[in-house]
Amino acid sequence: MAELTGRDAIRAALEQEMARDERVVLLGEDVAPGGVFKTTPGLVDRFGAERVWDTPISEQAIVGSAMGAAMGGLRPVAEIMFADFYATCWDLVANEIAKTRYMTGGQVRLPLVVRGSNGGGGLGFGAQHSQSAESWAMCVPGLKIACPSTPSDFKGLLAGAIREEDPVLVFEHKGLYGRTGEVPDGDHVVALGESHTLREGSDVTLVGLAFTVGICEAAADQLADEGISAEVIDLRTLVPLDVAAVLRSVATTNRLVIVEEGPGQLGWSASLAAIVSDEGFDDLDAPVLRVCGASVPLPAAGVLEEEVNPNAQRVIAAVRRMS
């Protein structure tokens, strides 16, 4: 075990996978000089410029090339600097990468990863650099979606994504790049589709993803002081979605609060809430509640960003509303 930051954990996963499999190649803007979030330093020195390509500012060319390279037998990892920029190449992601295996009757595999920074995290990046784009992706069948919350998962889920035979988008919450945590040494791989129960509890289930997992934990701590025992589940991936684990938990706690950073108008928590409200109907003693970001673009000023983001107090308020 080593204590690593999120960004170093990503680098460790890339190094591990590139060393293991020479078909793994990287591409993106400024990836050779180390990346603007410092997730790729030194990789070009170890693996050479043919495997670590610096691209022009051409997101369509980046993810399109990743797709073509995967069809041609490589296992590319493309970086999209900010997930908001998926909008500049959404056609390639949503219409081509997600659909081509199916449309060709399974003639191609697309083992590729697109990774990049996601979410706000109080860093003041504003409306065009802070979105939670994982929900955009979940609207489109054919994409796997991973959203790690710890340095260990930053490494393990990225390695798992690279080993998948299907396209995976990895959303790295930018508020977690700098947080440290224990990361297993050596080959560390987490398979996609398994949620992680961080703590068990009996009164309410709190479900988070990426940055909001920490919010759930903070809320659970405070609730514990009030004598309320909260179970905390980190979903880890949206596709595959570990609905079974949430339903199992709700069967015990009978209450569910889902915490999503993105706008409440529409996002992944709505899907999970709708499913659990249906399939867990008989287990639920209270409505499933969602604590989400406000349905506005993210404002720049710190006090305003705080105003619209979910936080532990809002989660606690939701739990109180249930009892």
């Binding site: 037998g73 199916y102 003639q107 191609v108």
Partner: protein, 340 residues
């Protein structure tokens, strides 16, 4: 033709020159008859959904395929039947796809706009204008890393030159010196709008080449040998590591943009003029002038027509796919589960 360009696998072992000519003719005829058959099947109600034929364009797909070898990749648009066939895709599997039958080349999931035959090096037909140009960059990048001297040819229309993906892809290919030939089939129209009405240069692909440090290459896209020769040279460069090319091949659709389009927007004189220049009849004349006997040409025509009739009959007799097929092959494990 360049020494290292062997004929497409659809051809036979090193044929003598006139046999190669006949093969070009046969291959164009196959594309033409398949288009005609498709139009008929659509009129009869068997082909459902949109369809985009390329009668008139045949010299391009065939001329290009003649320069390629196993390991080379091609990739194209919704107007992609001829491209698939030219690389050797099974005509029956193509027709089954168009008819939405079991055994369709894409399991009846792709339909007319997505004909693909990866085993023949045709990596697919993409229906959103421009999207496959960046994809082609990736195919060529993989080829370059493998180091076997293979190349990719990417087909697209004149209309595609105005979309952002075109610019990003050609630029990237030029920066990375990829073994990639961008082949524009300029048929003078996007859907109903003449390309000149929405483009500030005369040759929408070739006149942009210099923006990427590439040569300006325009070729008569209705002359199959001219296409073959120009592409062969570009392929040879790409195999040697000398980077990408743009080739603009001038052609014309004999019919509408799609099966449903009567193409009333085109001036009659223009249509007539291009009908005279259409590539299949024109190449027959060339071959006749080279003293290929009429019987031989008739024989090829008969053979191709019979083949197309036969495969159409078999395709029409094929059953519809099982409903469950709809739920397969989202993922590499063959399934479509997205939750547990």
């Amino acid at each position: 033709m360049a020494d290292d360009s062997s004929p497409d696998r659809a051809g036979t072992l090193s044929p003598p020159p006139d046999a190669a000519d006949l093969e070009l003719y046969r291959s164009m005829l196959l594309a033409r008859r398949m288009a005609e058959k498709t139009r008929q099947l659509w009129t009869d109600g068997g082909v459902h959904g949109p369809g985009h034929l390329s009668d008139g364009h045949e010299a391009i797909s065939v001329g290009v395929a003649a320069c390629l070898r196993e390991g080379d990749a091609t990739i194209g648009t919704y107007r992609g039947h001829a491209h698939a066939l030219a690389r050797g895709a099974d005509p029956e599997a193509v027709l089954r796809e168009l008819l939405g039958r079991e055994g369709g080349v894409c399991d009846a999931k792709g339909g007319s706009m997505h004909i693909t035959s990866v085993e023949h090096g045709y990596f697919g037909s993409y229906a959103i204008v421009g999207a496959h140009l960046p994809i082609a960059c990736g195919l060529a990048w993989a080829q370059r890393l493998k180091g076997e001297g293979n190349v990719t040819v990417c087909f697209f229309g004149d209309g595609a030159t105005n979309i952002g993906a075109f610019h990003e892809a050609v630029n990237l290919a030029a920066v990375w010196q990829l073994p990639l030939i961008f082949c524009c089939e300029n048929n003078l129209y996007m859907e109903y709008t003449p390309i000149t009405a929405v483009t500030p240069v005369r040759h929408p692909a070739a006149d942009r080449a210099s923006a990427y440090g590439l040569d300006r290459v325009v070729v008569d896209g209705n002359d199959v040998e001219a296409v073959r020769d120009v592409i062969a040279e570009r392929v040879q460069r790409a195999r040697k590591g000398d980077g990408p090319s743009i080739v603009e091949a001038m052609t014309y659709r004999l019919r509408g943009h799609s099966l449903a389009d009567p193409a009333a927007y085109r001036p009659e004189a223009e249509v007539q003029e291009w009908a005279r220049k259409e590539p299949v009849g024109r190449y027959r004349t060339v071959l006749s002038e080279r003293d290929v006997p009429a019987e031989e040409l008739d024989g090829v025509e008969r053979e191709v027509s019979e083949l197309v009739d036969e495969v159409a009959e078999r395709a029409l007799a094929a059953p519809s796919p099982q409903g469950e097929t709809a739920m397969t092959d989202v993922w590499a494990d063959g399934g479509s589960a997205w939750r547990s």
